[in-house]
């Protein structure tokens, strides 16, 4: 579905994508969708990217976001990091290639990778706050978001950001509202050099293959596709000239996967926890049944009275009382 028509002003009312296409829904289950949408993907060809930030600009405009006017920190990256208003960000790295000793200006568009196995969705405790469509789009539903920030801990790419304004989590939606009417994301539409392209995942892989061939012919022996298996593959992929070391591209994870800690927290702890608590409660009930309550006897009261009446080593009683007895 390579997009080559302008966004319609009168889109087909039968949405091309909607809740009926959920394959995952956070903290809840969804029925298996009746149909399987074709997997889509955004391909970011870092070797074609000129770092113009048109993607950032188009993203802000399409999503009606207003970022703060910041300051210069001695680099081209602005804003300095992703924010609840900045879903995508160009990250610039000046890298001297040790083999050629030439400077290479590595420019990577950072943003949600739309993992096939989304750590954010796994971590999310709020039913329906994060959903995954059968075409691979992972989207946040702000109406259901409670702003706990679990998605931040779950994400292997450090993408979601929690708004201090409305306490909800935000990230790239892959322009789900555009995809729903058969359009590609605003960033891909804008990208002047078509370093960002959008289509079916198969198309994108095929296109990537051509690009990699071209790059190899230009001396980039390690050119390759970044579609990390650790998260089941992603629906946002990169063509890298140095695919053997993703981390030189402003810390792109070499082998991203959902952290074992998150797996533990969302897995074993959850179930073991319930078990332990259950056992503790059950043990109590059982014990009560077997041994009954631990009651104070008449003797105990009698002993207490006797002890307290005259306590050994107690201060001598009032003499007058002494004589009385």
């Amino acid at each position: 579905m390579t997009i080559n028509v302008n966004p319609p002003v009168a889109p087909d009312t039968a949405m091309q994508m909607g809740p009926q296409d959920y394959i995952r829904r956070s903290a809840s289950s969804v029925p298996a969708p009746a149909r399987q949408l074709e997997a889509v993907a955004k391909l970011i060809d870092v070797s074609k990217c000129i770092g113009c930030k048109a993607c950032q600009s188009a993203c802000l405009e399409w999503n009606d976001l207003r970022e703060e006017v910041g300051v210069n920190a001695g680099v081209y990256d602005n804003p300095h990091d992703l924010t609840p208003n900045t879903f995508t960000l160009m990250r610039f790295t000046e890298w001297v290639n040790p083999e050629t000793d030439n400077l290479e200006w590595l420019i990577r568009k950072d943003g949600c990778m739309h993992c096939a196995d989304p750590g954010c969705l796994k971590a999310c405790p709020a039913p329906g706050a994060i959903v995954q469509y059968s075409n691979g789009v992972v989207d946040f539903v702000k109406e259901n978001c409670i702003g706990c920030g679990y998605c931040v801990k779950g994400c292997p790419f450090d993408i979601p950001r929690i708004s201090k304004v409305d306490n909800r989590s935000y990230k790239c939606t892959l322009c789900s509202d555009r995809i729903a009417v058969g359009q590609g994301p605003a960033c891909a539409k804008a990208c002047p050099t078509k370093a960002i392209v959008f289509g079916t995942k198969e198309e994108m892989k095929a296109h990537a293959a051509e690009r990699i061939e071209d790059l190899k012919s230009r001396g980039y022996a390690n050119a390759g596709l970044y579609d990390p298996p650790g998260v089941g593959g992603t629906h946002v992929m990169y063509v890298l000239h140095h695919a053997d070391k993703p981390s030189i591209y402003a810390g792109l994870p070499d082998d991203p996967r959902i952290s074992p800690l998150v797996e533990a927290w969302k897995g074993v702890t959850k179930y073991a926890g319930f078990a332990v608590m259950g056992i503790a409660a059950a043990a109590g009930v059982l014990h009560m049944a077997i041994s009954g309550r631990n009651r104070v006897t008449v003797e105990d009261d009698e002993e207490a009275r006797r002890l307290t009446a005259v306590a050994p080593g107690a201060a001598p009683l009032d003499p007058s009382k002494e004589t009385l007895s």
């Binding site: 390579t2 997009i3 080559n4 028509v5 302008n6 966004p7 319609p8 002003v9 009168a10 889109p11 087909d12 009312t13 949405m15 994508m17 909607g18 809740p19 113009c52 930030k53 048109a54 950032q56 600009s57 188009a58 802000l60 405009e61 399409w62 999503n63 009606d64 329906g128 959903v131 989207d139 539903v141 109406e143 939606t173 789900s176 509202d177 555009r178 729903a180 009417v181 605003a186 891909a188 539409k189 804008a190 990208c191 002047p192 078509k194 392209v197 959008f198 289509g199 296109h207």
Partner: protein, 198 residues
Amino acid sequence: MNMELSRRSFLKGAGAGVAATTLGAFGFGEAEAAFVEGLRPYKLAGTTETRNTCPYCSVACGVIIYSKGDLTQGTAEAIHLEGDVDHPTNRGTLCPKGAALLDFIKADTRLMNPKVRRPGSNAFEEISWDEAIDGIARHMKDDRDANFIERNMDGVPVNRWTTTGFLAASATTNETAFLTYKAVRSAGMVAFDNQARV
């Protein structure tokens, strides 16, 4: 990739209004852009598309302005802008400036009224168009009459007005440019230049 062009040729002057008319047919208005869980209401529903050209650099990318309201009623207002996929040069793409043109159209610092700053003053004051045009024309005539050179030392007619200059824009249309040319040259102005150099 993404470079093939959608083959749509338009009737002359069909830049605007096309979409508006088709709306009824689709039975799709803003009302139908209803909320679906997880999806933002599609914001271009029911807007009017107008073909325009990016006013920045000379690549002259085709843009489509999406607007609400009615131009003939004076209520038309742009709500979104995107590259025109049908345009041979930019194929729907835009640079970071073009992609943000809506914020130019709606800039907080867009000028809304004619103003004048009087000599020595430290503030602008709003004036009417009539006052502005009268004041400017008066300045022009006084200066022209005082400094116009009809003949040079050799008595050759030179009809030069050198004491008022005009710096033309670089983003106005050819039509504005030619009308400006006529107005400026007919007055004999020679210190006439544009942005070509900067």
